[in-house]
């Protein structure tokens, strides 16, 4: 894959990053475990992008977090009620986008 292809893929992923993160936070995760989960699921995200994003989503009121300092200190994030609502809304929008894009790519839309 060429550099231009990589740039296009990165932009495509950036657009769905929030939805991907929210979808993985129905169960509590700390930063590194979430990054691992996303990578194993086929969406590798740069650490320098993901960790600040978690903070931003929390400051937007979509996530709750708490420290667990029993072993290595780790901050666990999970969806709160507003995050659940946002996830549902984005999921619906995503499905609609997939339907539209499929119709574009298959040449059905006029």
């Amino acid at each position: 894959m060429g550099e231009r292809d990589n740039t296009g893929l990165a932009e495509l992923r950036r657009g769905v990053l929030v939805l991907a993160v929210l979808s993985r936070l129905r169960t509590p995760q700390y930063g590194y475990s979430l990054r691992q989960a996303l990578a194993e699921g086929g969406m590798p995200i740069e650490e320098g992008t993901l960790y600040p994003l978690l903070r931003r989503l929390e400051s937007q009121g979509l996530l709750a977090s708490e420290w667990n300092t029993e072993q290595s200190p780790r901050r666990y994030y999970r969806l709160n009620a507003e995050g659940e609502r946002m996830l549902a809304a984005l999921t619906e929008a995503w499905r609609e986008q997939v339907r539209v894009m499929n119709s574009f790519l298959e040449g059905r839309a006029q």
Binding site: E46, E47, P52, L53, R56, S72, R74, R75
Partner: protein, 304 residues
């Protein structure tokens, strides 16, 4: 430095770019996350963490200031969209100061100091404007404007009358102007022109150019807008008058505009400032024509 010290240094550098209220908490989390990442990288490399591994990790993470910006986006002091106008205004200040120095050489002015003050003032104005735009987007929302060519007829009439009454009258007959303005109650001997200046070609040229300016405003009054020819006339007349005022400043410094020394002393810097103002108007007119938007498809040699 060992790996722990390198990570501590990095975390410190990220945190110091953040608001005070967030620094400690982000630093604590970032240190833990970097520890996790370092352990994973070492495991993948099959060796204990060393300087090479940690530096590669931090390089991938990004420059501390960039990472901090992802954690907390600060508003720019001058919005990137305003950079072009900031540079234009900065350059205008530099040109104005240069012209003032050239046309008012006797005035004591530290151009470097004045330019820094100008830049500071611009930075404050642009920063406040940007802040206000972010705070009240509706108040600063875009509004349609008439183009640079448009001039309300009332303003054109006012400009025509004002140019005829003030600069033309005062320039052509300063003594009569003072007597008329003050109903003959003020002694006008102080503004008597020397014979050499009164009959000079420069003064005749000035009167002609001011007269042409009045005619140009009359044309704008009729048309309700500047035409391309009147834009260029505006620039040419202001440029000519600006240079003329600069030259008059030199004549006044030599004591040869008015018959009294005091009048020459007072007039010399005024001519300089007036000349600078007029030249700035001329440059503005030229700039407006140069930057005029003429929508057209790009040619192959132009960037798209």
């Amino acid at each position: 430095m060992n790996t722990h010290e390198i990570i501590e240094s990095y975390v410190r550098d990220v945190a110091r770019h953040l608001p005070r209220s967030k620094r400690n908490d982000v630093a604590f989390e970032l240190r833990a996350l970097l520890g996790d990442e370092l352990a994973a990288k070492s495991q993948a490399a099959g060796r204990a963490p060393d300087k090479g591994i940690v530096m590669e990790l931090l390089k991938g993470f990004g420059r501390p200031a960039d990472v901090a910006a992802r954690y907390h986006q600060r508003g720019a002091l001058i919005d990137s969209a305003d950079t072009h106008h900031f540079l234009i205004w900065s350059l205008s200040g530099a040109v104005t100061l240069s012209l003032l120095s050239a046309l008012s050489p006797s005035a004591e002015r530290d151009n470097g100091d004045e330019f820094l003050k100008w830049l500071g003032l611009l930075a404050i104005i642009f920063a406040v404007r940007g802040w206000w735009r972010r705070r009240s987007p509706k108040a600063m929302a875009w509004k349609p404007r008439r183009g640079h060519d448009w001039m309300p007829r009332g303003l054109a009439l006012l400009s025509m009358v004002a140019t005829a009454v003030f600069p033309l009258f005062v320039y052509a007959a300063p003594q009569t102007f003072v007597e008329t303005m003050f109903f003959g109650r003020v002694v006008s001997d102080g503004v008597v022109l020397t014979d050499s200046f009164a009959q000079s070609g420069e003064r005749i040229a000035g009167i002609i150019m001011l007269g042409m300016l009045v005619v140009m405003y009359a044309a704008v009054l009729v048309q309700g807008r500047y035409a391309p020819w009147s834009n260029w006339t505006f620039a040419a007349l202001h440029g000519g008058l600006g240079l003329l005022m600069g030259a008059h400043g030199g004549v006044a410094r030599a004591g040869q505009v008015f018959t009294t020394a005091k009048a020459n002393e007072v007039a010399a810097p005024i001519f300089g400032v007036l000349g600078t103002f007029l030249l700035m108007c001329a440059l503005y007119g030229v700039y407006q024509e140069w930057a005029r938007i003429k929508p057209a498809p790009a040619t192959d040699s132009q960037p798209k």
